[in-house]
Amino acid sequence: MMMMRWLRSKSYNTPSPFGKVVTYLALGFWAFLILFPLYWLIVTSLKIPSQVAEGPFYLPFVDFKPSLDAWKYILAGDLSNDTLRTYRNTAIVAPVSALLALILGSTASYALVRFEYRPRIGAILTFMGCVALGIAAIYFGVPWQVAVAAAIAVFFILLLTIGRRFKRALGNDDIAFWMISQRMLPPIAVVIPIYILFQRLHLLDTYTALIITYVTSNLPIVVWLMRDYISTIPIELEECAAIDGASRFRIFWSIVLPLAVPGLVATFLFVLVFTWNEYLLALFLSSANSQTLPLVIAAQNATRGPQWWNMSVLILIMIIPVIVIAIVLERYITRGILIGAVKG
């Protein structure tokens, strides 16, 4: 019957004509929900203050006369120096931190999936004790180099004596949980200690401070996301390579990484987005030289009220590079890399 033709699909992955209609309706609806606020941003960026205050105007040239005032102000006028400098800073700090976090995190997550760690509780407790001692020493005025050296020395001595006595050990899952627990404390509580730390190291207002902070705060996410992707790679592939004599590093580099590319790309996109848009830590750790874009956006909230038009322009120019990178990288989140890898 004619009805059945509408419901039959060509293959398991291509929907029937009826399914296609439903799919496009749903996808189109959600796409509209996403694009309409962005359209509103574009429209607002083309308005002058009085046009914003008088009520909603939807279509340029039809409802209101668009003007490039806000764009000129941001890109060519008074704010352009700030904008270009912060743009350059963000464009350097974000991808570098994302890449570093990806490298450190994917090696760590491979290790957590394939190797077995058993950190002994005795060792961990001695470590924490020595850290506390070191910090107390710094608090009481000992210069930090001496305190750190002394704490490390005491740690090793205690490790070889007392640490050995307690055999009970934790496992891989506990290490992973410790990593993700680093993200649980809200940044507001750690901002001032981190500020003090970098102040002591004379690294305030530099790229280094921001990159270090972003790498360490996003490392747990990389580890957790990559853990699942790596565990879907069949271990038989690695076993074959090991039988053929490949070392662990070779296996990781030549087999695991290429197969984990969809996960790597998705994770890289996330970390890039997180570091690109990060506000609170950048607010404290940078002032003039290494200021990043989100700070400029928040600064548009002047005493006269939020400068919606300037803000819209800034938000739009912030998204554009990220969208471009996402478009370029989207093709790598594709199916089919593992087909045929393991027969039988």
């Binding site: 959600w30 270090i212 992707y229 987005v273 478009i327």
Partner: protein, 404 residues
């Protein structure tokens, strides 16, 4: 976590696997045999032995560098009182004072909410929950091998959930008011629920082989890429009842005088909508990558055998994406508890304190120079998140153990 696959060196002894003696690369090359193993071989062999630490240590050291000091410092601050003094500031140790203030003192209605007497309906709901928790505990004591750690863990779980249920029951209905603790929990769980469902639906629709799916994939990524402060200002523009784009709709419904800003649940709903709009792409991308890496043979075979879409989903696709989903929800759970930009920008904390989240509570304390109280709230958030994460992680572990 799936069964741990171990790549120990010993397992690849060809003799053990039954292949007999497989000549190594060294043996096959007679020249190298004469000189003995070369320098590069010994270096590589040593590196191979230490591969475990080499892979993991850089990440661990990086984390340790920036995690220890702030954690301990803010713990100390939460146990102290901060005062501005000539030349800087002073921190005087006051013990659990800040925490007592949160739970029993002046900050109680801010933190926990205003309590109202329980209605009979709420007594019923709360009572059945208590019974459920008691049965859970009893089943553990009866059937399983009881260990000290397990017992303590379950007691903490039962007490924690019971207390939260008590707070919710008394502040949610009939004159009570939600505090920052309960508001944050509402934001997290309602938000994640919708984000996951919508994200999964979108991922399953876009994984299909339809023309134009690349366009949809890129478009669906967009909301996550806008800086959170930007999203907050954007939604403030959108929800403006006099100047925003939906004004004609508000006017048609007769709502121009009603400002959602002045209604507690209206404000919370607005923040929830913005939160869901912004973070669904996160779920979408990860689930899409997971669906893409599912092997296709089982699905094709199932179609040949006559299974319909729902059966394929339930028995083949769902178990495959379950591990990734659990990780995803855990990560998003931890992030969602820290929500700050949306309440801050959209409603400034809402009518009164209605839309304040825990981080916002810490923020305003900090702004008022109540730094000790701010650190105390932050630590309560840490305990709360740890509590829920541990529940969730153990749930994951149980799920994967059951599947084996």
């Amino acid at each position: 976590m799936s069964v741990k696959h171990e790549l120990n060196a010993g397992a690849y002894d060809p003799a053990q696997i039954g292949l007999g003696h497989v000549p190594s690369l060294d043996e096959m090359d007679p020249e190298s045999q004469e000189q003995g193993p070369s320098r590069i071989h010994t270096v590589m062999a040593t590196a191979e032995r230490f591969a475990g630490p080499i892979f993991l240590l850089p990440a661990v050291l990086a984390l340790l560098f920036l995690s220890v000091f702030p954690l301990l410092a803010s713990l100390y601050v939460s146990l102290a009182r901060f005062k501005i003094a000539p030349g800087g500031f002073t921190l005087t140790f006051v013990g659990l004072d800040n925490y007592k203030k949160l739970f029993f003192g002046t900050e109680q209605t801010h933190f926990l909410g205003a309590f109202a007497p329980l209605t009979p309906a709420m007594w019923f709901v709360f009572g059945s929950l208590v019974v459920g928790l008691a049965m859970f505990l009893a089943r553990y004591l009866w059937n399983a091998r009881v260990s000290v750690g397990g017992l303590i863990g379950r007691l903490v779980l039962v007490l924690g959930l019971g207390t939260l249920a008590w707070i919710f029951a008394r502040s949610l209905w009939s004159g009570g008011r939600l505090g920052t603790l309960t508001t944050t929990i509402v934001y997290v769980f309602v938000g994640i629920f919708f984000q996951y469902i919508i994200g999964l639906g979108l991922a399953m629709l876009t994984v299909q082989n339809i023309p134009g799916r690349r366009f949809f994939r890129v478009v669906f990524l967009l909301p996550m890429m806008i800086t959170p402060v930007g999203v907050a200002y954007m939604f403030r523009m959108l929800t403006d009842t006099s100047k925003g784009p939906f004004t004609p709709i508000w006017q048609a419904m007769g709502l121009t005088d009603f400002s959602w800003v002045n209604n507690a649940w209206g404000a919370r709903t607005a923040i929830l909508i913005a939160d869901i709009w912004q973070w669904t792409p996160f779920m979408f991308v990860v689930l899409l990558a997971a669906l893409e890496s599912q092997p296709t043979e089982p699905m094709e075979a199932a179609t040949v055998d006559g299974a319909n879409q729902w059966q394929i989903f339930r028995h083949i696709v769902w178990p495959g994406i379950l591990p990734v989903s659990m990780t995803l929800i855990l990560i998003r759970l931890i992030e969602a508890f820290k929500i700050i930009d949306l309440p801050n920008v959209m409603t400034n904390g809402g009518p009164g304190t209605a839309t304040q989240s825990l981080t916002y509570h810490a923020f305003i304390n900090w702004r008022a120079l109540e730094v000790g109280g701010s650190a105390a709230v932050a630590y309560m958030l840490l305990f709360l998140v740890t509590f829920f994460s541990l529940i969730f992680v153990n749930l994951i572990r149980q799920q994967t153990l059951e599947k084996l």
